[in-house]
């Protein structure tokens, strides 16, 4: 029906303007000199040169990747057993647990992160609890640990839900087949369940790693400004300094690094799956 297909036209125009054009602009700004008119611009690589020759920027990028990596690792290690527990519950319990995990995700990330400030602050509950347990009374807020905690807190639901979905999709008869062929629970898990849940783990990694690399308000709120990540650099360039061209270049670099790491993870999964269990 020709008439109906025309209904999509306004959005196609809108999407070109509001989705595609902004992305092109980021690329354009990244490669042009600041202060130029939109009509006449001069291409340059100076922003990239600036970034890659300044050890401070490189350090920030490295630090962002490291903390995102740590976050992903913790989310995976903690999230997997939780997801497994949920997947093995009966339908009713499973639905309730999934709702319980989804619910906080809908509440403003910023608000949820802010809520930690009180818990972590000096003289706060957590510090006292650690003191009682004999860990002394360490400083918690405005440390790397606090930033890591905030990230895990914000992103672990994605990991749990992804893994849970892939575990639930698992055909129950595969577990029966494995038991039938002589594998006990432990063997069934490592030889059948885990390898088949890897796609969920990979998409979980994607959903945790990417926002962790680019996050800027978690380090700002819980790291207290001492803990500067690549997202904070971009924020600074755009909001405080106003160097949009350099800011665009940095975000372009960030996106490239993200894509590279995701490519690496996917490769790893695929070859890992094939290598698994080879004679």
């Amino acid at each position: 029906m020709k008439k109906f297909s025309q209904l999509a036209i306004p959005y196609i125009v809108w999407a070109a303007l509001m989705i595609l054009l902004p992305l092109l602009l980021i690329i354009l700004y990244a490669f042009t000199k600041p202060g130029n008119e939109f009509i006449q611009f001069s291409l340059t690589l100076e922003h990239f040169a600036k970034f890659f020759t300044d050890p401070d920027f490189l350090l920030v990028l490295w630090r962002s990747l490291v903390i995102a990596f740590k976050t992903t690792l913790i989310c995976g290690v903690l999230g997997y057993p939780v997801a497994y527990f949920i997947a093995r519950s009966n339908d009713r319990v499973r639905n309730i647990l999934i709702l319980a995990i989804t619910l906080p995700m809908w509440i403003n990330m910023l608000v949820r992160t802010y809520a930690w400030i009180g818990l972590l602050s000096d003289g706060g509950i957590l510090q006292k609890l650690l003191g009682l347990l004999g860990f002394g009374e360490p400083k918690l807020l405005y440390t790397e640990g606090a930033v890591l905690l905030g990230m895990v807190y914000n992103f672990i639901p994605f990991m749990i839900l992804q893994i849970n979905t892939s575990l639930c999709k698992l055909d129950h008869s595969l577990l029966e087949a494995s038991a039938d062929l002589g594998a006990d629970r432990f063997q069934t898990f490592w030889r059948v369940v885990f390898p088949l849940s890897l796609p969920g783990v990979v998409s979980g990694i994607t959903l945790v790693f990417l926002p962790a690399v680019s996050s800027f308000f978690i380090p700002k709120l819980l790291g207290g400004g001492q803990y500067f990540l690549i997202g904070n650099v971009i924020e600074n360039q755009f909001i405080t300094v106003g160097e949009w061209n350099f800011g665009s270049a940095i975000s372009l670099i960030m996106v490239m690094v993200m894509m590279l790491s995701m490519y690496a993870v996917r490769r790893l999964d695929r070859s890992g799956g094939r290598e698994e269990d080879r004679l």
């Binding site: 595969l174 038991a179 039938d180 062929l181 006990d184 799956g273």
Partner: protein
């Protein structure tokens, strides 16, 4: 020598959420037997298999395997393997890894595994497929891999849960032979679950027919086919003529008012029974040589044989008169409205249900605008009916006053009773205009409606019986007049498989040997 009993089910009861799926099943399975659990879905056959496999626990009863109760033994310690309904091949492993799975769990050395897997691939005829991705195999190949994966562990028993269900017809036939061959070659017990009677008959040494969580009959395919224990088994296995009968005395059974010799005995005198005669056991002969005579209703060629339907006892019939009249629409004075309706008959007993809606429907009263063809609603019906036989005038009119008068005949309509066939048929005479018959798109159905034709069981008035319509006018060129219409039920029909052609409509005789009559106990529901 008595074969050794390998598996014994002792009074197995299984309950799911208060629903009893198995009602105390007792069954012995011997060594090297191909046993089929046969029954419709929901009969409990898969549940029984899963209890044997260890995936379910029986609520009550024992499963004895090789002399030991295996109730608490988890699946991975049982000496049997399963081929699952949809194969349950591990999608992240190739053919080789799937088959090697069980051996690797047992920590066998690599070269032993290699040797055994290769042997299995040879058995299933899939050498050279070891590196193939199992998700890319055809259904039949996946099936073979699933069998190999189970058999490589050298189980004492192989359980197969509807393994051919997902395959197409041709492949299914091929796999039936393949499975039988594999079973004979490896020489172990197969317990096979299916709802397909043909599969069961082809492959099994022993068939277990199940219904509603109970075993109906256990026996060899031949026994089950030739001596079904009851109507249910007879119906489920193969095609059959099943009829109610009375066992007059030993070796004498009576049905359709004729007493026949048979080979069955041990029933009470005059006990009500069911009789099965297989279609291929009946021969068609000259009418005077037959034990029964009848008319050939239909002949269908089925590839190897003809399937002939012979009616030995005619059905119940009733003939009514159709009064075909000219079109008698009434047109209003201004020509803007037309109205039409028919006279009709009504049974005095149905008078109570005759409300205005029903009168409009029975008389087919309608009003319309002849220019636009738009319908106009009939706003007023004037008629005084009494619960007495006779004819009563009825007037239909629209809101603008266009009206037509017709007659309702209240009659005491007799119905035809047929005690022998336990049924009754009834229909009414009726009036129709020429155009209404010509315009009918489904005349048979319309005739039944117009005549209010119905048939029912004498023993249960609510159980209706199918009727067919017969008439000999040409509905395309029908003229005014009176026509006979006959409504009839199906009589006693026999299905016969024969290689000789007979003409439809011929009078023939049917004959069979005393041993072809299989007498069964009446089923108690």
């Amino acid at each position: 020598m008595e074969p050794k009993k390998l598996i014994q089910f002792r009074n197995i009861v299984k309950e799911f959420d208060g629903q009893i799926v198995l009602k105390g099943v007792n069954l012995d399975i011997c060594e090297n037997e191909f046993v089929t659990l046969l029954g419709p879905s929901g009969c409990g056959k898969t549940t029984l298999l899963r209890i044997l496999g260890g995936f379910l626990e029986a609520t009550e009863g024992q499963v004895i395997f090789d002399g030991q109760d295996i109730a608490g033994v988890p699946p991975y310690k049982r000496e049997l393997n399963t081929v699952f309904q949809k194969y349950a091949l591990f999608p992240h492993m190739n053919v080789y890894q799937n088959i090697a799975f069980g051996l690797k769990i047992k920590k066998m050395s690599k070269d032993v595994i290699q040797q055994k897997v290769m042997k299995m691939l040879k058995l299933i005829g899939m050498e050279g497929y070891e590196d193939k991705n199992v998700t890319l195999l055809s259904g039949g190949q996946q099936q073979r891999v699933a069998i190999a994966r189970a058999l490589v562990n050298e189980p004492k028993v192989l359980l197969l849960d509807e393994p051919l269900g997902a395959l197409d017809l041709k492949l299914r036939k091929e796999m039936q032979y393949e499975l039988k061959r594999i079973q004979q070659e490896v020489g172990i017990t197969f317990v096979y679950v299916t709802h397909d009677q043909e599969e069961a008959l082809t492959m099994s040494d022993k068939i277990v027919v199940m219904k509603d969580g109970e075993i109906c009959q256990v026996g060899s395919p031949l026994e089950i086919y030739n001596e079904p224990a009851n109507r249910y088994v007879a119906n489920f296995i193969g095609e059959s003529n099943i009829l109610p009968a009375v066992m007059v005395e030993d070796y004498k059974v009576r049905f359709d008012d004729i007493t026949f010799d048979c080979v069955d005995h041990g029933f009470r005198p005059n006990e009500k029974v069911d009789v099965v005669i297989r279609p291929e056991d009946i021969d068609i002969v000259e009418p005077d040589k037959g034990k029964l005579t009848g008319e050939v209703l239909s002949v269908l060629f089925k590839g190897v044989h003809y399937e002939v339907i012979v009616e030995t006892v005619p059905g119940t019939t009733v003939t009514v008169k159709m009064h075909v009249i000219g079109n008698r629409d009434v047109t209003s004075q201004n020509g803007k409205e037309k109205i039409s309706a028919n006279d009709f008959y009504v049974d005095i007993e149905d008078l109570d249900q005759l409300d205005e809606k029903e009168i409009v429907a029975r008389s087919d009263a309608q009003a319309w605008n002849p220019e636009t063809d738009e319908y106009i609603s009939i706003s007023h019906i004037d008629c005084k009916l009494e619960k007495k036989l006779g004819s009563y005038p009825v007037t239909f009119s629209t809101s603008s006053g266009t009206s037509v008068q017709r007659t309702i005949f209240v009659v005491n309509q007799p119905f035809v009773r047929n005690e022998k066939a336990n049924e009754a048929v009834m229909a009414f005479n009726f009036f129709k205009a020429v155009d209404e018959i010509k315009e009918s798109v489904a005349l048979d159905t319309d005739l039944k409606t117009w005549a209010s034709a119905q048939a029912w069981k004498l023993t249960d008035e609510n159980e209706s019986v199918d009727i067919s319509v017969d008439y000999d006018f040409d509905d395309e060129n029908i003229q005014e007049g009176v026509y006979n219409i006959t409504f009839s039920t199906t009589g006693r029909e026999f299905k016969i498989h024969t290689t000789d052609y007979v003409e439809e409509g011929r009078e023939v005789g049917l004959t069979f040997f005393p041993e072809d009559i299989h007498v069964m106990e009446k089923m108690v529901f």
